[in-house]
């Protein structure tokens, strides 16, 4: 019987020596805008903004609860009097909206974070705008879905792709995909939102048809924004898929530390418009040029090598956060799902047979029939609801950390009370699997390296070269 365990351990040993990177849909979208911009995030770590997205996050939370509640309940296709329905939805959502706003403000106050005076007003405004957009454009042309899932993380190991989809509308014939934006789409110039939407659509294809290139289940994808809904044309989607795949491969190769030639677009909406981040981008471009011309001072070059060694060590850690998922995928490919799950359960990577007991705020208590729970406090887990005919890593899931394990009960701490509410609506009624997971904290580790890289340049590169 030990041979099963040895087999899984060998898979771990093998994969630890491989590249287990996954590229997020948002990162692919950034690379589509400009490959230099992707490199600015990884490996350089020059985060472009310090903004607190409290309003946007709150709206996302509200939408994630309201979609399967008042919005779905009031879905009427082909209606003309959309304003009335929108009003009804907004009225019926008021309890959810107020609860979410209260929770967010409570959390922000707990951390002494700054909350704008008109925070509640802003959130309500954006939510109302999204609801109006949905009723006017989406409900008019599309049937009521049979089920709505929100905040779905899908992992496609084969194509090194992962993403979190805002909402999936399920129909007997296929699916529709929604993405919320809390700002006006007409004010944006980069096209980033469109690429993120298409990248997520590839993931949805994978979830419903087990292949990202199988479009037979795809009904529509759209961005719901403050003043309407944007539906990319089918030709646009088809045309952009290749671009998504090329940039996904580019991003994956960069994360793996391979040398890839960067293709700068004819127009970069960041550098060519001098937006936030353009200075950083030009800094690294200048660095590369000076290195190519052999003009970098030896001390600086030596230190730059130290910085890059550290950066790639951090990226290796980022890859390791996906290790468990790769092992699951490898085992399933090798032995089939049931046998793989049995082996993985035996070694304690995942465990099955949990059912939801109750929750207190963001803490959820699950129980199982025996007391052999192979988890311990502080471990991060992915709670997966086993949906029929879906591959394990594309099933509905949420992330949580283990608080306590006592006999046959396990206490999990979710990210927020809203995440628990969402899980109660769409996750807990499925057979539950707890899969070991890891947190990805690499971005915050890269940032100070970027700061010191710039500092070293400021100090060690002669001023005449900096011009």
């Amino acid at each position: 019987m030990n041979s099963d365990i040895i087999d899984v351990r060998r898979t771990y040993d093998y994969l630890r020596r491989c590249q287990t990177h996954l590229v997020q849909s948002s990162e692919i979208a950034t690379a589509c805008v400009c490959q230099n911009l992707f490199k600015l995030d990884y490996p350089f770590g020059a985060t472009r903004s310090d903004k607190d997205y409290l309003v946007a996050n709150t709206v996302h939370d509200i939408m994630s609860l309201c979609m399967s509640g008042p919005i779905l309940e009031n879905w009427h296709s082909g209606l003309e009097n959309y304003e009335q329905i929108a009003k009804k939805i907004v009225n019926e959502s008021s309890e959810i909206v107020n609860t979410v706003i209260k929770d967010i403000i409570e959390g922000a106050h707990q951390e002494n974070r700054f909350v704008q005076d008109d925070f509640e007003l802003q959130v309500n405004d954006i939510y109302n705008g999204l609801v109006v957009g949905m009723t006017r454009r989406l409900m008019k042309n599309h049937e009521r879905p049979s089920r709505v899932l929100t905040e779905v993380t899908i992992t496609n190991i084969k194509d090194h792709h992962e993403g979190r989809i805002d909402a999936l509308l399920e129909y007997s014939s296929g699916y529709g995909l929604l993405d919320w934006k809390s700002y006006e789409l007409s004010n944006t110039v980069s096209g980033r939102e469109k690429w993120q939407l298409i990248a997520n659509t590839l993931l949805a294809n994978f979830r419903y048809r087990r292949s990202e290139d199988d479009w037979s289940g795809h009904n529509f994808s759209c961005i719901v924004h403050n003043s309407g809904v944007y539906f990319p044309k089918t030709e646009t989607i088809v045309k952009e898929v290749e671009r998504i795949k090329t940039n996904r491969q580019f991003a994956h190769m960069v994360l793996c530390g391979e040398r890839v030639r960067v293709q700068r677009p004819k127009f970069c909406p960041v550098c060519d418009k001098g937006l936030e981040g353009s200075k950083e981008c030009l800094f690294y471009q200048r660095d590369a040029r000076l290195a190519y011309e052999g003009k970098l001072p030896a001390q600086y070059e030596k230190m730059t090598k130290q910085f890059f060694a550290k950066r790639y060590a951090i990226l290796k850690e980022r890859a390791e956060t996906h290790l468990h998922k790769h092992v699951v995928y490898t085992q399933i490919s090798k032995h089939g799902e049931e046998e793989a799950l049995r082996r993985l359960e035996k070694i304690g990577i995942l465990s099955r047979g949990y059912s939801y007991d109750f929750n207190i705020d963001e803490k959820v208590i699950l129980s199982r029939t025996d007391d052999n729970i192979p988890l311990e406090p502080r471990r991060i887990v992915r709670i997966i609801g086993m949906e029929p005919s879906r591959s394990l890593l594309s099933c509905i899931n949420e992330q949580a950390s283990v608080m306590e394990v006592r006999n046959s009960k396990i206490t999990l701490s979710f990210r927020s009370k809203i995440a628990v509410q969402r899980a109660k609506r769409q996750l807990f009624h499925f057979p539950l699997i707890l899969l070991r997971d890891e947190l990805n904290l690499t971005r915050s580790m890269l940032r100070p390296i970027h700061q010191f890289h710039k500092l070293a340049a400021e100090v060690l590169i002669p001023p005449e070269l900096l011009v």
């Binding site: 030990n2 365990i5 040895i6 899984v8 351990r9 771990y12 310090d50 707990q110 951390e111 002494n112 974070r113 700054f114 001072p297 001390q299 030596k302 230190m303 130290q306 910085f307 550290k310 060590a313 951090i314 850690e317 390791e320 092992v327 070694i347 304690g348 990577i349 007391d371 192979p374 311990e376 006592r406 006999n407 904290l441 915050s444 580790m445 940032r447 100070p448 390296i449 700061q451 010191f452 500092l455 070293a456 400021e458 100090v459 060690l460």
Partner: protein
Amino acid sequence: MTIKLNPDQSRILNWRVKSGGVAGVIGPAGCGKTTTGSFLAVKMICEGYAKNVLLVAFTNSAANEFARELSMVLGPEGSKFLCVRSGYAPGADPRLPIPFSNNIEFVRAKKIVICTTQSLKRLSTSIKFENMIIDEAGIERLEHLLSPFALGINQLGIHLMKENISYETNNIIELASKCGIIATVVGDPKQSRPIGLADYDLSAMEWVLKCAKYDTLFTTHRLPDRLAMLVDEFADYGGLNSAPEIASRRFGAEYAIDKNYKEILNPEEVITWVNLNGNEEMGGPSSWYNEVEAKACVRICCEIKRVAPSKSISIVTRYTEQRRTISKYLQHLDIETRVLTTTGALGTQADIVIFSLVRNNPERLVGALGSLQDLNVAISRSKEKLIIVGSFEMMLNGLSYSHNSNSRHKQNFPQKLARLVNEKYGMVVTAPSILCN
């Protein structure tokens, strides 16, 4: 202030308040690293050496420990007035008088800010610190040090200093020092090492020791004489000694000890190795457990609880699966005892420590248990008595490798420990039959 500093601590305090740049302080087990750091922060503020000080720890529990020490040094009112705990709200201990906040203005108004490395991103980059103390740097990587350092860069001064710096800076630590960052990096590379760091790479602490000045604390207030001597010789500290007031501390039972445990709990012996041959089993992707040892540890723990109910006990092991196995048995018996991995045990102490070795195989592969850091942590948590449970033969003849990239010769640390316990500082006893099934 009611806490008295020993001569080592006072020397380091006087050195660091007057010197700038980045410097290291090595602190073996129980030498008061956190106390020294807290005093240093208070002295800097109270005597006007710095306008504000950032105290950084790797874990929330260590950050709370800093906050606790500061509350003791300054008193509840003083610490409430001068200090703020920042970062991740659920990680902060709410029982401490120091307020929690991430609000930039509130944080800016305080003199001493306590935060974890990972949570520093929650502090605005516009806040600058004149001085910083970074604890647990042994477990940190160089990149971890850069997060606090980034908050200490003196941008205005850089231009003035530029001429002095040019072309003489070889590494990041030197660059930081020359750019006006004043940081005291505290840790012990012989107790901890970052998880997953390549053998050839250096931890943050090792970088500081390589590139900057450092001093060592040599007086332990935790380990009794024989244990201090064992740890000193095992880890090669070069002079670790017990503080006089605790040197002769021994385990004392309040009730008569069962005859099966008489040898194991002998009050005369500070270090006892219970030679036990249980079989190791694989658990998890890279962990191990040993049922026989787990049961033996729990039984010994029960006996200690019976004969000395007031004593605190910790069970320490290298492997998470063994920790889980032991915790499960303790839970069934409804016994409250801390079970820790060597990583989790860092910074903790107990009256009696039971160390479960786990590894025992015909190939004599000791694996990760053989690292200097893990063994050193496991043997240096105890205030009165250390009980090692596991195969003596396996450790004495096991094949090991060293994680310490600084050591010129790869040493067999399990063998060294077995020899030192058997020949100089402790006693190896055969496990009584009651522990063998």
